[in-house]
């Protein structure tokens, strides 16, 4: 990969570390800068810490923001409860919404956080903050969660894309503006997502019948000859980016079957359900099984139910319940759950009260999410809200705590320094925010 940033190695190929985390130069310079990593990992621990751990992550991105009352934090018998009530779960004393009967049976595998409390109240800002981990501070562009994980844990030489975004709705509303943003931030485009969706595929990934395999490869070799000659003569960064994109074509085409749902057993497809979200979740499992590191499954933004909240959630929550149940159960049965972190979350919660349209509006102050798998202790419900769900009364956690938790669960140092030329120092998670220890294995 000619466009890959130079890496400094510290002994073996296993231990490559991104150069921008170090001072450029010799090994001794690199070692010197390690000492400034906030004491978070000591020099002897470096090799171990940076080793590709084989951990993976699937983010079920519940864009638009689901209601905590109709999912993880029901308030039966109170004014804020919806009509659905609560059911008992496999965890004694713990109830969740009656719309989630399947997840109720695997609560011992899930960690639920009922005490999320964040700031941004509008979708765009909240999506940005909850997928990057912090609010923007231009000109620094914080890489999105998937880019950080792909860079830290991914195998970039693999033809299988390390960071995949699956979304059926490329024309989504607020989410569209976000999608157009710079996802990989300072890490660089090679850590950005491969986007697929709609027909569950990547456009133009199949070779045309009009050209043979051999000719397709030969003409690409010819293209590469001219294009790299230009790149070298011009010392052109733009041409390098162009050539890097073409360099990935062959590898992506070779894993085209990964993006073809027809190759998956019909029984699996039926078990997950017919909708795009369900099929994408199955595809995420398939991609993770075959070498992807981070798959973000988005679904437009159907959860933003300012109108007819109960009717909408009555459709959406059972679908989520089944998908999360199938995914966690599948990963567990395949022995992959210990290495695969599954997160199901939106960008905030919904109001305890209903508006005039019988909708619930945005509510970042007190909301819930769920995680399972790699690095997570199952059977935990962290934090609590008051009787009506208005305020967090125990175990308050914000986006920084959440990201510290996710990184810790995956074995990624949460407070590592991002020391970039010409910018103030940034950290992977700012302000030394603590992970939610209770949910970590």
């Amino acid at each position: 990969m000619p466009n890959r940033k130079t890496k400094l190695t510290c002994g073996s190929d296993e231990h490559t570390v991104h150069r921008r985390l170090f001072l450029q130069g010799s090994m001794s310079a690199a070692t010197a800068s390690v000492a400034s990593f906030n004491g978070l990992f000591s020099i002897p621990a470096l090799a171990e810490e940076t080793k590709r751990s084989g951990k993976k992550c699937i983010l079920l991105w519940l864009c638009g923001a689901p209601s905590q009352f109709e999912t993880w934090d029901p308030k039966p018998g109170t004014a804020t409860s919806g009509p659905f009530g609560a059911i008992s779960t496999s965890l004694p004393g713990i109830q969740i919404s009656s719309l989630m009967p399947k997840c109720a049976t695997i609560m011992d595998k899930l960690a639920v956080v009922r005490s999320m409390s964040t700031k941004p109240n509008e979708h765009f800002q909240a999506i940005d903050t909850l997928t990057r981990g912090d609010k923007p501070r231009p000109p620094f562009t914080r890489p999105i969660l998937g880019s950080v994980i792909a860079e830290q844990l991914g195998q970039l030489d693999s033809p299988v894309p390390q960071f995949v975004l699956l979304d059926p709705c490329p024309e989504g509303n607020e989410f569209k503006g976000f999608k157009a943003g710079n996802w990989a931030g300072w890490l660089g485009a090679e850590y950005g997502p491969v986007r697929a969706g709609g027909d569950y595929g990547i456009p133009n990934i199949e070779k045309l019948d009009a050209i043979s395999q051999a000719d397709h490869a030969d003409r690409e070799a010819l293209r590469s000859f001219f294009s790299k000659k230009f790149e070298n003569d011009q010392r052109s960064a733009a041409a390098a980016s162009h050539n890097a994109a073409f360099d990935r074509v062959k590898g992506l085409m070779s894993c085209a079957p990964l993006f073809d749902l027809e190759t998956l057993p019909k029984a699996d497809r039926e078990r997950y359900g017919a909708g795009a979200f369900a099929q994408h979740a199955l595809q995420a499992r398939h991609l993770i099984e075959n070498g992807s590191t981070f798959v973000m499954v988005a679904n437009g933004m159907p959860w933003d139910n300012h109108v007819f909240q109960h009717e909408m959630h009555q459709m959406l929550v059972p679908e989520l319940d089944n998908i999360l149940f199938q995914l966690v159960t599948d990963l567990d049965e395949r022995g992959m759950l210990d290495d695969t972190l599954v997160i199901a979350m939106g960008e905030f919660g919904r109001t305890p009260w209903l508006n005039e349209a019988r909708g619930r509006d945005h509510y970042p102050k007190a909301w819930s999410l769920a995680m399972a798998g790699a690095g997570i202790r199952g059977g935990v419900v962290h934090g609590a809200t008051d009787a009506g769900g208005y305020e967090v009364v125990d175990g308050k956690a914000d986006n920084q705590n959440l990201f510290a938790t996710i990184f810790s669960a995956l074995g990624i140092a949460p407070h590592e320094e991002y020391d970039l030329p010409g910018l103030p120092t940034f950290y992977r998670v700012e302000e030394d925010a603590e992970p939610i220890a209770e949910v970590l294995a």
């Binding site: 990547i202 050209i211 052109s236 085409m253």
Partner: protein
């Protein structure tokens, strides 16, 4: 208001037009090189200049005949002649209409492109650049959106296409005419840019929030109500503020505000009939008109926004970068040059063509495109910054190469503008999906393979007697320069091994040139 402004402008115009603005640009850019001890790249060759300026001004690569004609022009000021030729061409009109459509309206589905054509927006944009209309007038026409002449009907489409979505309108007006982005100020005063307040976001929304799209006998119009549009916006702390008619540093436009519980009533006295029969009546107090006369007219950002954008189009990067964030967080790389160019632009009656011409005839535009040393920052403009062709530049250019002529509504234009979206990207990152598109898209592949009609490239190549001649022609046509021996040998070898299916092999070679970086970028 307009009359008051006109007097000093006329006076200035007489003074500034005497000097060659390119010389002033040269002096100020050179001074910054000297101050920073920068050795710029050398001047580019005529051959390079031809391809470059055809792309930047005519929106396509030159044909071989056009390149030849320019190279054989013995006049010492042949570059100036070429620039003037191109600036007066219909291709220039089409290219700038393409650019400003993407910049002002954004990329869209083909059905939306069709609407922009049907409802006159495209025709209006073309007229703006064909007739070199003063840019401040264009801004007024688009924002008042009450066309006085039938041929300016399309001016309403800027507002109309946004379908009464007042926030979308405000978020489009700010970058389009003021060169700033205000989205950040929706929920709070801009965190990083002190001068952009939350009140400005909601103020700008309020100037447009009495509009309603109307189908009239004259076509789409944006009617305006004389009442309503009062609300309060809440900041993150929850305190609320009335949405007064205010924007940036301009004085707040006074307006009677009803009490909270007071209901305003519609009366005919609040309106006057339109001068144009069949158009919606106009409110006596028109917020849109107030915006134009009391905020927009004479606002220094109108000139600056356009100067910075045209500079970015031609130089690969704005004097302020990103080009539409002219705020206190993004200082210009060349403050004096930026000020002077903006004043000159305003004083020349917002003459876009004069601005364009003075930039492309400056020395900095005509530098070689290889960065002289790795440490130089792009904002030094010490070399010509390479930039990807826009979808339309690319679509026209592949037609010129493969077919010898082009159509602006060809199928290849439509497929490329749905694929290659960015115009003036903040940074150049070629997405993988584009590489996949060029490698495997059926329509693009067929366009290349089927360029074998009479007089088209593949057909002509077949008539040649040697692979060497084919190789040289391919390089010359695609890259507008002679082939070197290594390139010729490589192509020869490729063709030699495929003599039995030369047709397909020639298409392969053409494809490899069209998809190489040398073709994909202007340099």
């Amino acid at each position: 208001m307009r009359c008051l402004l006109a007097l000093p402008l006329v006076f200035f115009a007489a003074v500034v037009s005497a000097a060659d603005p390119s010389l002033r640009i040269n002096a100020l850019v050179k001074r910054s090189w000297e101050e920073q001890k920068i050795s710029p790249a050398g001047p580019c060759s005529d051959q390079t200049f031809a391809r470059r300026v055809y792309l930047d001004l005519a929106g396509r690569v030159p044909t071989e005949a056009e390149t030849k004609q320019f190279l054989e022009d013995g006049r010492p000021d042949r570059r100036r002649h070429l620039v003037d030729l191109l600036l007066g061409s219909e291709d220039h009109t089409q290219h700038f209409a393409d650019l400003f459509d993407a910049l002002l309206m954004g990329r869209a589905a083909e059905s939306v492109y069709d609407q922009r054509t049907t409802h006159g927006w495209r025709k209006y944009l073309e007229a703006v650049f064909r007739d070199n209309r003063p840019w401040d007038e264009v801004a007024r026409e688009v924002l008042i959106a009450r066309p006085e002449n039938k041929e300016d009907d399309g001016a309403v489409w800027f507002l109309y296409e946004r379908k009464n979505q007042y926030q979308a309108i405000a978020e489009a007006v700010a970058p389009a005419f003021f060169g700033i982005r205000i989205e950040c100020a929706q929920c709070h005063d801009h965190m990083m840019v002190d001068e952009i307040k939350q009140a400005h976001y909601w103020g700008l929304v309020a100037f447009f929030n009495r509009g309603t799209n109307k189908e009239t006998p004259n076509g789409p119009r944006v009617a305006e109500s004389a009442i309503g549009g009062f609300s309060e916006f809440a900041n993150l702390e929850g305190s609320s503020t009335p949405n007064l008619l205010t924007f940036l540093d301009a004085t707040t436009v006074p307006e009677d505000r009803p009490d909270k519980d007071e209901k305003q009533t519609e009366t005919d006295e609040l309106y006057v009939a339109s001068d144009v029969a069949g158009d919606p009546r106009e409110p006596v107090f028109s917020r849109r008109k107030r915006f134009v006369t009391q905020i927009l007219d004479g606002h220094p950002l109108i000139a600056k926004a356009m100067v910075n954008r045209v500079w970015a189009i031609l130089m690969g990067r704005g004097l302020v970068h990103p080009h539409d964030e002219i705020d206190s967080m993004h200082p210009p790389s060349h403050p004096e040059l930026f000020e002077w160019l903006s004043e000159d632009f305003a004083a020349s009656n917002f003459d876009v063509r004069r601005l364009t011409r003075s930039i492309v005839l400056s020395d900095a535009y005509q530098l070689d495109s290889v960065r002289p040393n790795e440490t130089l920052p792009p904002e030094s403009f010490a070399w010509y910054l390479e930039r990807p062709l826009t979808a339309e530049q690319l679509a026209r250019s592949v037609q010129v190469v493969m077919r010898g002529h082009f159509q602006n509504d060809a199928h290849v234009v439509r497929i490329l503008r749905q694929q290659v979206l960015d115009v003036l990207p903040d940074a150049i990152e070629i997405p993988i999906k584009d590489a996949l598109f060029f490698s495997n898209n059926n329509a693009f592949d067929r366009f290349v393979r089927e360029s074998r009609g009479d007089g088209q490239l593949l057909q002509q190549l077949l008539t040649y007697e040697s692979h060497e001649r084919r190789a040289r022609r391919l390089i010359e046509t695609a890259f507008n320069r002679p082939a070197d021996d290594e390139e010729v040998r490589t192509i020869q070898a490729y063709l030699e091994s495929r003599n039995e299916r030369l047709d397909a092999a020639l298409a392969d070679v053409a494809w490899s040139l069209l998809t190489s970086a040398e073709f994909r970028f202007n340099h």
